[in-house]
Symmetry: C2
Subunit: 152 residues, 2 copies
DNA sequence: TATTAGTCTATATATCCGATAGAATATGTA
DNA sequence: TACATATTCTATCGGATATATAGACTAATA
């Protein structure tokens, strides 16, 4: 009975970041095959298809059919940040719905939200987390990768 | 088909915080009945029982059976922080298992963890989140609550 | 005409979440 | 000892969600 590690990002979000970073590396170099992304990032192809489709609907990527086709990034790698991706695939960034701005909902448990200490503290965390995630773009990830490659 | 808001904290964690804050308010004032916590915090009693049991096993609270019994906090309210509670009920704080220290696991997707830009950036977020959550104790929540009550 | 993405359906497992019910056990007190 | 009170343990539940896999057919493009 091994304890399962539950992390916050689903496979879907994780795969979408991997795929987008890959596409960011090929930014403005033409379409990339689904099968190529699937192989290089080790993402189940059918699963990847549905993810890319979602990313297309949301305006991150576009696709071209036929020979020489594939997917390509349409947003600038500087403009795609982790906060937006998280909100797209996971929903709220706040730890409690009552502390969320984009996905606000009452938590139904405090008598008065304005004076709820838990909510207030959780909001502090959310503010800072959003700030950090907004500050991380695809371009930043690639830059960090290049930096790390130099030191190893 | 209303979109379900997915937040990061499960009811279990939320309830455990509520229950502990309640017990922190009665710190060193003797045991509190499960039924009393259940009512005041509006937590389903049976669910609360299993939560308190888990909190007892982990050394946060203790219980007394029989008349005049109930649950009481054994740790100092200053020493119980959100980071530890999160780890107990939710697991890792990091967004990806490969970026976690307490619940580390390979993510099986980068070729080289040491030079993975995603992992590195996610680690940055984790470090800061842990720092913030460690800094929020039950006592802090109660203090914040009292502060808010003054201004409203 | 070969290639590649898009759409659709269907299936499958696995896991988790929130909650409930009832029996068993321990404690304090009269 | 007997009783009331309270916690402990076990077990189960429906429903939702996550993570895929498979196949068939359509549409676009070089």
């Amino acid at each position: 009975m091994t304890k399962i590690i539950v992390c916050m990002l689903s496979k879907k979000t994780q795969y979408s970041i991997l795929a987008l970073v890959r596409l960011a590396r090929e930014y403005e170099k033409g379409p990339v095959l689904i099968s190529s992304i699937s192989e290089s990032e080790r993402i189940p192809q059918k699963f990847l298809e549905s993810i890319l489709l979602e990313l297309k609907k949301t305006g991150y990527v576009n696709s071209k059919k036929g020979k020489g086709g594939g997917y390509y990034l349409i947003k600038n790698p500087n403009e795609v940040n982790l906060a937006d991706l998280h909100r797209l695939f996971e929903g709220a960034i706040a730890l409690l719905p009552c502390a969320s701005t984009k996905f606000y909902e009452s938590c139904h448990h405090c008598k008065d939200e304005e004076t709820c200490g838990i909510r207030s503290k959780i909001k502090d965390i959310r503010d800072e987390t959003v700030r950090m995630m907004k500050a991380i773009s695809l371009a930043d990830i690639i830059t960090r990768e290049n930096d790390l490659l130099k030191t190893f």
